[in-house]
Symmetry: C2
Subunit: 221 residues, 2 copies
C-alpha cells in the first residue's frame, strides 16, 4: 500500500483531497498546521476529519514571528469581499511562503516514512489569486524535490498531487459528496467564530459552490 | 540599504556568510533554527555571532516529529568518519528536507520585511554529500520563489545567495579571517559537548581546513 502525506487544513478542499487519496488506495498520513491562523477553529475540524477516516495525523506548530497577512494578524481587518482578489491582485489573506513551508514539512515527513506522494487541495479559484496554489509553482517545487532530497537524487522522487487543481468549488463539493466527505465537520470561515460569518471571502465561495449545486451547506443547517 | 536574510547555524560557514553579506553592504536579519539538532550548542554560538555583528536575529523553533537522521536522533550513533559520505552516498547526518524548510521560512521572512536576498553558507564539500547544498537545488528553489510568491509574481523575486558554494573549507576560513569572523565563537562539532570531540565528520573537515592554512583553530587553543 503506497503511503501519502495529505495536507489537511480542515476546510472542504483538503477534506475532499484526503477522501480522494484514500479512494485511490493510499495509506494517508495527515499533516495539520497550527501557524497562528486567525481561524484556528479549522484545526479542530481537521483533527475530527482525520479521526473519521481512521488515518494518522500530526499537528505541526509553527510560529511565524513576522506578520503582514490578514490571516495571521487580527489587527488587519478582513474585507468582506477581498477587493484585492476581485481586481486580480494577490488577496489580503496571502501568507508569505505559507504553502512552501507546508510542503517543505510534508516533504520531510514523506522522506522519513517513505511516502511516494504529497496531496494538497489547491484549486482553480485559489490559484486565481494565490501564487502558491498555481500549477507552475507545484512544477517548480517538484524540481526542488528531484534535486534537493535523498529521494530525488536516488531517482525515487516524491510526487506532488493536486487532484482539485482545475476544479471549481462546486465541482469539488460534487466530488466530495460522491466520496462521502463529512462536510458538516469541515470549516472554511476566516473569522473562526461559533458559526460561519457568511460575509468573508471564504464563506462567499463556499456558499456559492453549494448554491450552484442546489445543495445546502450542512454547516448552515 | 538592501535587506538580506542570513541563515545562521553557528558554524564557521554561516558565520563567514554573514560577515560576507555585511561586507557587501546588506542590512542583515539572521535566522537561527532550533530544530532538535543534537549539537544544539550551536544555537548559543549563532546568537553570540549575531550579537557581535549588531544584526537582528530570530530563533525559529521547529519540532520535526519524525526522525531518521543521526543529527536529530541520539539513538543513532554518529560514525567517527561518515562512511556514507566517503563512499559517495548521502551522509548519515542528512535531515530530510532540512534546508528546504529553512529556506521556506527565510523566504517568508524575506517577503515580510522586503528583503531582496537570502544568504546560505552551503559549500563545495557539503554538496559532495547533501542534496540540499547543491547548486541545482538552489536554482530549483529560485524557480519556486519566482512562481510561488507575491514577490516573484510581481517580478521582484528574492535571490538565493550562496557565496561559498565553490569554496573548500580552507578557502572559507581564509575568507573569514580576512573579514574578521570571530571563529572562537563558532561551533561545528556534531556532538555539542564542552569541547569539540575532534572525531566527528564535522570536526574532521574543520581541522583539515585550519591545517591546510597552517592556522590553529581558536576553539582548540
Amino acid at each position: 500500500m503506497n503511503k501519502a502525506i495529505v495536507l489537511l487544513s480542515g476546510g472542504l478542499d483538503s477534506a475532499t483531497t484526503l477522501y480522494f487519496a484514500k479512494a485511490k488506495g493510499f495509506k494517508c498520513y495527515c499533516l495539520i498546521f497550527d501557524y497562528g491562523q486567525r481561524h484556528n477553529r479549522e484545526i479542530a475540524s481537521a483533527k475530527k476529519i482525520a479521526k473519521k477516516t481512521g488515518c494518522s495525523w500530526q499537528v505541526i506548530k509553527i510560529k511565524l514571528p513576522w506578520k503582514g497577512s490578514a490571516l495571521l494578524d487580527k489587527k488587519i481587518s478582513l474585507p468582506p469581499v477581498d477587493t484585492n482578489r476581485l481586481s486580480g491582485k494577490i488577496p489580503f489573506t496571502y501568507v508569505p511562503g505559507r504553502n512552501i513551508i507546508f510542503l517543505s514539512f510534508a516533504l520531510s515527513f514523506a522522506e522519513s516514512v517513505g511516502a511516494k506522494s504529497i496531496f494538497i487541495g489547491a484549486h482553480a479559484q485559489d490559484y486565481s489569486g494565490y501564487p502558491d496554489c498555481r500549477p507552475e509553482f507545484y512544477q517548480a517545487f517538484s524540481k526542488v524535490i528531484s534535486t534537493g532530497t535523498k529521494a530525488g537524487v536516488e531517482k525515487k522522487p516524491i510526487k506532488i498531487e493536486t487532484p482539485l487543481i482545475h476544479k471549481s468549488k462546486a465541482q469539488i463539493i460534487k466530488l466530495g459528496l460522491r466520496l462521502g466527505v463529512p462536510f458538516k465537520l469541515t470549516w472554511s470561515c476566516y473569522h473562526g467564530g461559533a458559526k460561519p460569518c457568511q460575509k468573508c471571502d471564504s464563506c462567499y465561495f463556499r456558499n456559492k459552490g453549494f448554491k450552484e449545486l442546489g445543495k445546502i451547506d450542512p454547516l448552515l443547517n
